[in-house]
């Protein structure tokens, strides 16, 4: 289980420096160091013996196994090597960072990010479960984003961070995809299974897809061309982060992945022909570009890319010895490159510039740094007796005789040698121009070597370079053996680490590299003036930049074009979609043949007339829609025609409701129209009238076809049930009403809720809203001075009682005959509105002084409690009950809970209509706080009496 402690300790304890942040830099640095050290201790104390004994330890964290998500860890040689690098260099970096950051404000954050990164990186290298690997992989991207953007007050840092995240994030996505693909081929995400099932994987048709996706992940992370450009950009990170992430660890994740998966996916032609060319080209081109870098970190970044390219190429070759060489180069590169970065950081820290054109002469001022950096640079160039030489020789050797290249075998060594030449050149340039050349700028405060402890990490690393270079077998022989075995298993080749392998082609290539590289260095003035480096460098970065520029531009255009919030545009889209999708079932020929019409009825005079009236009203509304009042009248014709059709076709309740609603709508629109323009002007820009007409006609045709289609086929519905049970079990003869208050009472409850919400929202919209009254009508005439026409004012009074009486009647008998709560409520509201119309807002409101919001609430509560009441009797919600109660003289009186429910409906609807009318009626600035002459007791609702 301790395997998982190695990554999880730093990952989960990453917050500690944040908490200790206020205690000062020393404390935070120590806390970070201790966390890393704890992990390191576990690694060395617990795992090292086991790993060197050839054992592989596993640990599982069950996350979501049923979804295929798990975290599984393995500690084998390869994992151990990377853990060693991550933790060892990590500790050195923390030490280095303590001095480098000095009194930076946000140091705690830095250590926190660093620990999280460290944990994630350890997670990547110890993952057995590939999804887990992706998880950690992405965390490294995010934490790297945070570290690169640490100095976020500069645009360069922000852009560098975003790019790093973008490119590695894209890789992470591809990796996820690839892992899923390969995982599905063998039905497992476990590395062991993948390795065991290699033959199954590579034989599958989806292997190429999965492989390409995974390789994209590896290439982006390891900054292989053309995805390399993020790494130079990431140099705006604080140098400790660069030393850590961009030399030793994160960028190695890509090559780690290659070597980790090579037993499962590698050694195929596809693998070879993708990985090797990418690696070789990257190696050569990056080294070439590095020569032209003036920023020492930039130079080191391209150098890193180049070395990663070499490692990539070696893993692409897949020969056992190539893999060994690659592994060795990983170790070596980590040591010399980290030390170089640290040295660069020291220079930057002391001299405050990293530009080779401004540096020089540090040899005297900073002798220790000069020695260390020079040794490391020599290792980078591949000078014998240093570690870089060893692995480079092995690498050169492995590029020879690649049988897969056939006739073109010479290409690989040629390219590698070119890369070697450029490496030598840029290494020389780095060391010479920074330390040995004459100083170009005179400085007021001459720089000096940093504190001893800041140099200590560099010293350690450079020491390693030398030790490995001088006695490789002793220093790394055992480790390399274990690591290589964990990758190659029984393919483990015979090899021996030695400083000198005799005269071979590789040696010849090395000599070539030094000779030509030295030549180039000596011609550096001319070479630099030629500025050839600029040709290749920005291409990929520009492409990326342009790509996002274009995405954002397209996004803007598309979004702006689409989202103009034009209702007519949106509706046109909706209707068009309806036409296309709705008609699609009829596209196949058989479907149209299936439309056999079965039953039709003859034309009858009355409905034909009503239908004509309906269509007449609609067409007239359309034709005259610019004259708003006219349009309203014509719409009234259609409404009336609807009601007549309902009445004619056996739906008396519907006819009643339609008339009522039609009236309500008209009054509401009239109330609002007073404050709206009375005419609809023609639009200056004709908005696609023809297209709209076509859409409208097609929609009309569509719904007509649907109507015709439905009406001409037989119907077998559930309606018989209602006929059978309405009276006997529902207690009413008006089936529609029994449906409304009983069978489908929940619908009605919902319906009155809708009304209530509408009223509430309207209250909200109109609260405190006052609009100026127009002083003239649409024709410019002054209003009639007669506010309350006499005849209406007088006649409204007796009519009130009369209409209320009828409303009570309609309410009470709705269960058995047409009528019911809704219609009764509308009648009541009409009677009350008539009072407003006839005698004015002030008069009527003074006599109707209750808050209709409460009436609505009471109504809703009544309906709801009627429904809930049945729960008390162990019956489901809204189970109705009714009975006949003998009352002296009167006879049996039917009382049904449904009636109570209908009363709730009644109250709600009355309240709602009155709220709407009153709110709208009040807009015109009638002061509500009009002094009342006497306080009239609020009349109770007449309905309550019933």
């Amino acid at each position: 289980m301790s395997v998982l402690l190695v990554p999880l300790l730093p990952l989960l304890l990453g917050w500690i420096p944040l908490v200790l942040g206020r205690r000062g830099h020393v404390t935070t640095a120590w806390s970070a160091g201790l966390v890393a050290a704890a992990s390191f201790a576990i690694l060395l104390g617990v795992h090292a013996p086991a790993v060197f004994a050839g054992e592989v330890a596993f640990a599982w964290v069950r996350w979501a196994p049923s979804l295929g998500l798990d975290l599984a860890f393995r500690m084998d040689g390869l994992a151990f090597l990377f853990c060693l690098l991550v933790l060892g260099i990590g500790l050195l970096v923390i030490l280095y960072a303590y001095f480098y950051l000095g009194d930076t404000k946000y140091h705690a954050r830095f250590y926190a990010f660093l620990l999280v990164f460290m944990g994630a990186m350890l997670g990547v290298v110890t993952s057995e479960h590939m999804i887990g690997l992706v998880v950690f992989w992405e965390i490294t991207s995010v934490s790297s984003f945070l570290l690169v953007g640490f100095n976020n007050d500069t645009e360069a840092a922000r852009r560098g961070a975003r790019r790093a995240l973008g490119v590695t994030g894209l890789g992470g996505l591809c990796l996820l995809g690839g892992v899923i693909v390969i995982g599905h081929l063998v039905d497992s995400f476990e590395l062991s299974v993948w390795i065991a099932q290699r033959s199954v994987i590579v034989a599958n048709a989806w292997y190429p897809a999965g492989l390409v996706l995974i390789l994209l992940g590896a290439f982006t992370k390891s900054a292989q061309m053309p995805f390399h450009f993020w790494l130079p950009g990431a140099m705006s990170a604080p140098t400790p982060a660069s030393a850590y992430l961009h030399s030793a660890t994160m960028v190695k994740a890509g090559v780690f992945l290659l070597v980790r998966l090579s037993p499962a996916l590698g050694d195929t032609s596809l693998w070879f022909f993708i990985v090797v060319p990418v690696g070789l080209v990257t190696m050569m081109v990056a080294a070439y570009i590095a020569m032209f870098q003036h920023d020492i970190k930039g130079l080191l970044a391209y150098s890193t890319i180049s070395h990663l390219g070499l490692i990539t190429a070696l893993f692409g070759i897949s020969e056992p010895l190539a893999i060994v060489a690659g592994l060795l180069h990983i170790i070596n590169h980590a040591t010399f490159k980290a030390s170089l970065f640290m040295a660069a950081g020291i220079v930057d820290h002391e001299v405050h510039t990293r530009d080779l054109r401004e540096l020089g002469g540090l040899r005297r001022l900073m002798p220790v740094t000069t020695v260390l950096a020079s040794i490391a640079a020599a290792a980078m160039a591949g000078v014998p007796l240093l570690n870089g030489f060893l692995s480079k020789e092995m690498a050169f050797q492995e590029t020879l005789g690649l049988s897969r290249l056939g006739e073109m075998q010479w290409v690989a060594p040629f390219v590698v040698t070119l890369g070697g030449i450029f490496s030598v050149a840029y290494s020389l340039r780095f060391a010479w121009e920074a330390f040995f050349a004459e100083p170009k700028v005179q400085r007021e405060h001459p720089p000096h070597d940093p504190p001893r402890w800041m140099q200590a990490p560099v010293f350690v690393l450079v020491g390693l370079c030398v030790v490995v270079g001088v006695m490789p077998a002793v220093a790394v022989g055992g480790l390399l053996e274990v690591v290589a075995t964990s990758v190659l298993g029984d393919r483990m080749p015979e090899y021996h680490l030695a400083i000198y392998h005799g005269v071979n082609t590789a040696l010849f290539m090395s000599i070539m590299a030094f000779a030509v590289g030295g030549l180039i260095f000596s011609w550096r003035r001319r070479v630099l003036d030629w500025q050839g480096g600029g040709i290749l460098e920005p291409t990929a970065a520009n492409a990326y930049h342009n790509f996002f520029g274009r995405v954002i531009r397209i996004g803007r255009v598309v979004t702006h074009q689409l989202h103009d919030h034009s209702l007519s545009r949106y509706s046109a889209v909706l209707f068009s979609l309806l036409l296309v999708v709705g008609s699609s079932p009829f596209w196949p020929h058989e479907a149209r043949d299936a439309l056999v019409l079965r039953t039709t009825t003859a034309l009858q005079a009355a409905p034909v007339a009503f239908c004509s009236l309906l269509a007449f009203g609609a067409i007239a509304t359309l034709v005259f829609h610019r004259r708003r009042i006219w349009a309203l009248l014509f719409m009234g014709v259609s409404g009336l025609a609807s009601a007549l059709l309902f009445a004619d076709y056996s739906a008396p309740d519907l006819a009643l409701t339609q008339i009522s609603v039609e009236f309500g709508t008209t009054v509401l629109i009239l109330l609002a129209l007073y404050y709206l323009p009375w005419k609809t002007p023609r639009e200056p820009r004709a908005p696609a009238r023809t297209m709209h007409a076509v859409i409208a006609v097609l929609c009309g045709t569509g719904i007509a076809a649907l109507t015709y289609g439905v009406l001409t086929r037989p119907l077998e519905s559930i309606s018989d049930f209602y006929v059978a049970t309405s009276k006997t079990h529902g207690g009413g003869t008006n089936i529609v009403n029994v449906i409304l208050v009983d069978y489908r009472g929940t619908d009605t409850l919902g319906e009155i809720t809708v009304l209530a919400i509408a009223a509430l929202s309207i209250t909200g919209m109109l609260s405190g809203f006052r609009a100026r009254r127009p002083t003239v009508d649409s024709a410019g005439r002054a209003w009639s001075p007669d506010t309350h026409p006499h005849l209406l004012a007088v006649m409204a009074r007796p009519l009130l009682s009369l209409v209320l009486l009828v409303a009570v009647f309609v309410l009470l008998r709705g269960h058995n005959l047409p009528g019911g709560g809704f219609i009764a409520a509308l009648m009541t509201a009409v009677a009350l509105i008539l009072q407003f119309l006839a005698n004015g807002y002030g008069f009527a409101r003074a006599r109707l002084r209750f808050d209709f919001v409460k009436v609505v609430a009471i109504g809703l509560a009544l309906a709801l409690f009627t429904g809930l009441g049945s729960l008390l009797f162990g019956q489901p919600f809204l189970t109705s009950n009714y009975g006949y109660f003998p009352i002296p003289l009167v006879g049996d009186v039917e009382l049904a809970t449904a009636m109570l429910f209908d009363l709730g409906v009644y109250l709600t609807v009355v309240g709602v209509i009155m709220i709407m009318a009153i709110r709208l009626g009040r807009i015109g600035g009638v002061e509500d706080a009009e002094p009342e002459p006497e306080l009239v007791p609020a009349p109770a609702e007449p309905g309550e009496a019933g």
Binding site: M635, G664, I669, T680, T707, V723
Partner: protein, 135 residues
């Protein structure tokens, strides 16, 4: 009869759709109302067109029109009323606050409206704007 009925519904729906596509709130309200007429009639008609069979139980009568579509339409009509009222008030407030009764969003934001156009007083509009900014 079915064809005639269907045609009438189709015409109403077409008029409604066309009006809905107009760029003014009032036309939209008209269109919506017409469309709901068409929809309600359609929904009602799926119980089939039957004369003199109102679903009110009468002794000795066994054949009734399907009551379910009627109940559905009833509910739909009432909900439609609520919605229409809401939209009308919304259109009213828009006209007062935004200063026009365009329903086509950004395209016509500053197009002047002819005719009577009452406005809320300046201070109130300023206040709503500042609230707008804050939320």
């Amino acid at each position: 009869m079915e064809a005639f009925f269907a045609a009438a519904i189709g015409i109403v729906a077409a008029c409604g759709v066309y009006l809905l596509l107009r760029p003014r709130t009032f036309s939209v309200v008209l269109g919506l109302t017409l469309l709901s007429y068409a929809v309600n009639l359609f929904l009602f008609s799926v119980g089939r067109l039957q004369h003199g069979k109102a679903p009110i139980l009468t002794p000795g009568v066994t054949d009734y029109a399907d009551p379910i579509p009627q109940a559905l339409v009833l509910t739909a009509i009432v909900i439609g009323l609520a919605m229409t009222a809401f939209v009308v008030v919304l259109a009213l407030r828009m006209n007062a606050d935004v200063g026009h009764d365009h329903a086509d969003g950004d395209a016509h934001d500053d197009a002047p409206t002819k005719g009577v156009r009452p406005k809320g007083d300046r201070t109130k509009r300023a206040r709503t704007k500042s609230q707008e900014r804050r939320s």
